[in-house]
């Protein structure tokens, strides 16, 4: 279906990533936001606070990130599309409820405008140090979806997509911006509402008395009943059966947790989005995401100018990881070069998938700035020597 026109600020704008993300959420139909201020994500909730009352929504600044991350889930079960917004220290506080959302299959979007850590770190400067936390920061086995935009235009478009994925798969979706993308101002084109594809959770289809709140459908996702409609649902973070009732057995635990993981892992072809540049004849492929995927385009240009056969692979959706495509590429190329604004996180997945078929070389950066494209080029040249 197309978007509710109230939330769509159609036109050509000059926005930073944080503001574009806010517009993406409103365009997606998000009408309840709870948040707590933290640099460098505050601009998202500031714009939400100003805009959401004009589109029929509610923003409440909560007492902390813990409250924000669970209040959105109350609103999600109340039928709303919801999000909260934070950065490293706040996201750390939200981890408990990312696990709760995964376990209870509550659709919600967590915006993380990453800054350098650990702890308070560099509050105003970029990093990509939360990638593994986004995936597995809460305790126990689960899978989420993480998206990594690299421009304000994408902050708009992919925020809309994040809501669609959250609704379709009933998972928390981590929107992994970083300070550079959040504070970068560029042209953002917001289309007409009817040009936007909007997805909603699947409501119950069968007879009410036969409804089981956690019986998965073909896509491994259960239908989601609204509150106050006679379904008498019970939702718990405890291990539960198809009725939603707690059952403390290894069998029920196995069935539930395997499904929660498989609904993402086994349907990754529906979720993964990749971009490739000059990959056809490449001997070295640079794997980069987020802001770094723009930095490496300069490296690519310099390399090609020198006649080096280099390409770029960019996972737009980082989790689940695009395993199949990278496995193919590993057989084609000599090496993967992986620059990240951390000391080696996504590179571990690349290395695992390459499985010795191609060398994998990390270009680390502790955060607080971006890579020098030349530094990445030097690593590429080293590999090709």
């Amino acid at each position: 279906m197309s978007a509710d026109p109230k939330g769509v600020l159609t036109g050509v704008h000059f926005l930073d990533g944080d503001h574009a993300c806010c517009e993406g959420a409103l365009a997606a139909g998000c009408r309840v936001v709870f948040g707590y201020p933290i640099t460098p994500s505050t601009e998202v909730v500031e714009r939400i606070a100003r805009r959401i009352p004009t589109v029929g929504g509610v923003f409440v600044q909560m007492e902390d990130e813990i409250a924000s991350s669970i209040a959105i889930q109350g609103a999600a079960w109340g039928g709303q599309k919801v999000m909260t917004v934070s950065s490293g220290p706040g996201i750390s506080l939200m981890m408990e409820h990312i696990g709760y959302a995964a376990m209870t299959e509550t659709p919600c979007v967590f915006i993380n405008v990453q800054r350098a850590g650990p702890s308070t770190g560099l509050p105003t400067l970029a990093a990509q140090g939360d990638m593994m936390q986004a995936r597995w920061g809460s305790h126990g086995d689960y899978e989420i979806i993480a998206i990594s935009p690299n421009s304000p235009q994408e902050c708009f478009e992919l925020t809309v997509h994040a809501f669609n994925l959250a609704e379709r798969f009933r998972v928390p979706v981590m929107f992994m911006m970083d300070e550079s993308v959040g504070h970068m101002t560029e042209r953002v084109v917001i289309p007409n509402p009817e040009q936007l594809k909007i997805e909603n959770r699947q409501p119950p289809t069968g007879p009410k008395e036969e409804f089981l709140a956690y019986r998965p459908k073909k896509n491994m996702v259960p239908e989601m009943a609204p509150v106050g409609a006679g379904y008498k649902i019970h939702v718990t973070g405890l291990t539960h059966d198809e009725r939603g009732y707690p059952v403390m057995t290894p069998e029920v635990q196995h069935g539930l947790v395997v499904r929660l993981v498989d609904k993402i892992r086994k349907q990754r072809d529906q979720i993964c989005i990749n971009e490739e540049e000059q990959i056809e004849d490449a001997e070295v492929v640079i794997v980069a995401y987020g802001i770094t995927s723009r930095v490496v385009l300069r490296t690519l240009q310099m390399a090609r100018d020198k006649g080096l056969k280099v390409g770029v692979f960019r996972p737009v959706v980082v989790w689940p990881f695009p395993e199949e495509r990278l496995r193919q590429l590993a057989k084609q190329v000599k090496a993967f070069v992986v620059p990240e604004l951390n000391l080696g996180q996504v590179v571990l997945e690349v290395e695992r998938i390459a499985a010795g078929d191609a060398k994998t070389i990390l270009v680390p950066h502790a955060g607080g700035g971006l890579h020098d494209p030349l530094q990445i080029l030097q690593v590429v040249e080293e590999v090709l020597r």
Binding site: R31, G56, I66, A67, V82, Y245
Partner: protein, 287 residues
């Protein structure tokens, strides 16, 4: 002859009985009073939702045949606030224990009271973390014995009605599980009143708290509540703190009116934005 049924069964998930609660525990009485309050009010099952946290009392959500949410430790109040914001047409009731609501969830409690979030909090106070085996909690009386206070609790307990009152609750009452009629009436009053309502229920934990503190069984707790309680409606909440095995002041302490979170939001933003304000209530999610 048909099987005899309990009149409150329609509010319970009978397929989950028996409950996990011990003999003599007061939580079942609280559930009974809640169901009777709903019955007396003639509230339909679909007009409300129940939200609990973690602990013995947190299991209430699993036993009521109502849309119900068993959330994380300490967080039922912000979950309830979110649900109420999304569905202002529903009554949203939080039922949880004092360890959940006042210790780990204390920050949420005081802020929900401050902003007058329109949720009803029924806080079962049994003075201990019973599910984990009897550790000292935020209301553990001075000198009471707990596994984590083996020589006696030495820090000052919270006086819950005073806490709720001073942070802005519009309705504050305290009863014991002996006072079933009064408790039922208070629940009905709170559920009919807009704004943040707080009811403390003093409840026995014979298996853990009473045994360790040599306070007898469930029946002894009832005798104690009967003999040591004094009804003082409108009491100064500052004066209603509790001691181990001491007198218990019960009653309805606070009943006042002020705008709820959403009312205040509508008023403030509406007065500034005029026609540009699109109140959430007009956009209609399943209403």
């Amino acid at each position: 002859m048909s099987k005899a049924t309990n009149p409150v069964e329609s509010y319970l998930r009978m397929d989950r009985m028996p409950s996990i609660w011990c003999p003599g525990c007061g939580i079942g009485i609280v559930v009974n009073c809640f169901a009777r309050a709903l019955q007396q009010m003639g509230v339909d099952h679909d007009e409300l939702a129940v939200v609990s946290g973690i602990g013995c009392t947190g299991r209430i959500a699993g036993y009521v045949d109502i849309d119900s949410f068993h959330t994380t430790h300490g967080r039922p109040i912000p979950f309830a606030t979110g649900l109420k914001v999304a569905r202002p047409d529903l009554k949203v009731i939080v039922m949880s224990g004092e360890g959940d609501l006042v210790s780990i969830g204390g920050n949420h409690l005081i802020h929900a009271a401050r902003r007058n979030s329109d949720v009803k909090v029924i806080c079962v106070n049994n003075f201990t973390y019973a599910m984990t085996g009897g550790q000292a909690g935020p209301t553990a009386p001075r000198h009471s014995i707990a596994t984590t206070a083996p020589y006696g609790s030495f820090d000052k307990p919270f006086n819950l009605p005073f806490l709720a009152d001073s942070t802005g609750a519009v309705y504050v009452a305290r009863w014991t599980t002996y006072h079933v009629r009064q408790l039922t009436r208070s629940m009905a009053e709170a559920m009919s009143k807009p704004g943040f309502c707080f009811i403390e229920v003093i409840s026995p934990c014979p298996t853990i708290f009473s045994r360790r503190n040599r306070l007898g069984d469930g029946l002894d707790a009832m005798r104690y509540y009967k003999n040591s309680s004094k009804v003082v409606n409108g009491a100064n909440t500052r004066m209603v703190g509790l001691d181990l095995n001491g007198p218990i002041i019960v009653g309805k302490f606070i009943d006042r009116d002020r705008p709820t979170l959403l009312e205040a939001m509508d008023e403030e933003i509406g007065s500034k934005l005029g026609k540009r304000y699109v109140p959430y209530a007009t956009t209609g999610v399943q209403r």
